[in-house]
């Protein structure tokens, strides 16, 4: 049992580090789930802001721009 858990844990480590080494770019990555939940209004749109207070959002264009 103990050996099985350790093998499973090491498998997680290897897979995780492999994935981390391949997806090296941070600009396109999705924010970690450990910070926030992934629930959103729809399946595809996650509640991650894609624009800021002074940056126009695609759906709500800032007036005056």
């Amino acid at each position: 049992m103990k050996l099985a858990v350790r093998i499973f844990a090491m498998f997680i480590v290897v897979v995780g580090l492999a994935a981390a080494s391949v997806s090296s770019a941070t600009s396109n990555t999705r924010p970690s789930h450990q910070a926030l939940t992934s629930t959103g209004p729809s399946n595809d749109s996650l509640p991650i802001p894609q624009c800021g207070p002074y940056v126009p959002c695609p759906s709500y264009p800032v007036s005056g721009k």
Partner: protein, 292 residues
């Protein structure tokens, strides 16, 4: 059942898991042992419904102004989570090494340096493609990425040194490390998929992603609910390497008496040579006397 309803159900189940975990954590007084984890659970339980409410408000026709609130609060929570996860890793590390106080002390010192180096590497590797407030997501995502790698390293360390530390697989420090490692791997794989599929997770991948999160939370709930076995005393031979390292680390930790370190003389190099020559001559004289 449509996929959206199923996804919503999974998200609700996840929130219930967080609440249950928080309750178990408080009930068993584990927040005294892992205070940062306690704060992290509280942050998750409080911030999730609050952010969802703001998100709902900003999606309404009258709620455009809430977007700024959502943006700022989202990334503030994100930053707080990343910082708390650094401290949680340290707490797990400390708990795992509690049987060897000397190694724990020096290990924590090394751990802090590792954290500092990883933060510096994170900041130096950020591309800063965006400007203004949009640099915040880049910086905080980079921090979370380094935390994820740290979590995986911690899990690997516990797996490899489990026998030496006499750590049981039922120990909660191992359970927490396993859950965080699983979540970190899940995040990295999701990031990989999103990088290769242009920022979208397919529905099936998202179900797998959420499923792994639920499994991680389930692991934590089981670890918190079940009674933790008493830690076995670490018994090792007196000449074992880990025991000696612990002794050395303990000795390093003691302040002891202060000793003045002899500074090299500021004299000229030739004076040292003269001293050496005099010593050799005097030794030769002694040898000759003894021979005669």
């Amino acid at each position: 059942m449509t996929s959206q309803i199923a996804m919503t159900a999974m998200s609700v189940a996840e929130f219930c898991f967080w609440v249950l975990l928080g309750l178990l954590f408080w009930k068993k007084n584990l927040h005294h042992r892992f205070p940062a984890m306690g704060f992290y659970l509280a942050l998750r339980v409080i911030s999730t419904p609050a952010l969802m409410a703001i998100l709902y408000a900003q999606s309404q026709p009258w709620g455009h102004g809430y977007y700024v609130v959502y943006f700022c609060s989202y990334w503030a929570v994100y930053l707080a989570s990343a910082l708390l996860l650094f401290f949680i890793c340290m707490e797990i590390f400390r708990s795992a090494l509690s049987a060897l106080p000397g190694l724990m002390k020096i290990g924590i010192m090394i751990f802090r340096w590792v954290v500092l180096v990883s933060v510096i590497v994170t900041f130096s590797s950020i591309s800063f493609m965006h400007k203004g407030l949009l640099t915040v997501p880049d910086v905080v995502s980079g921090l979370m990425r380094s935390v994820g790698i740290l979590e995986l390293c911690l899990l690997a360390f516990l797996c490899l040194s489990m026998n030496a530390l006499r750590l049981s697989i039922r120990d909660i420090s191992f359970g927490l490390a396993l859950g965080f490692g699983l979540m970190a791997t899940d995040d990295f794989i999701a990031a990989l998929i999103m990088t290769s599929h242009r920022l979208t997770l397919t529905a099936s991948a998202q179900f797998v992603y959420e499923g792994v999160i639920l499994v991680s939370l389930g692991i934590w709930v089981v670890y918190c609910a079940l009674p933790e076995p008493a830690r076995k005393p670490v018994v090792m031979s007196a000449n074992s390497a880990i025991y000696r390292w612990n002794e050395i680390a303990s000795a390093l930790g003691h302040p002891g008496t202060q000793v003045a370190v002899q500074q090299p003389a500021n004299s000229f190099f030739l004076t040292d040579v003269e001293d050496v020559v005099e010593k050799v001559i005097s030794r030769n004289l002694k040898d000759r006397k003894s021979e005669s």
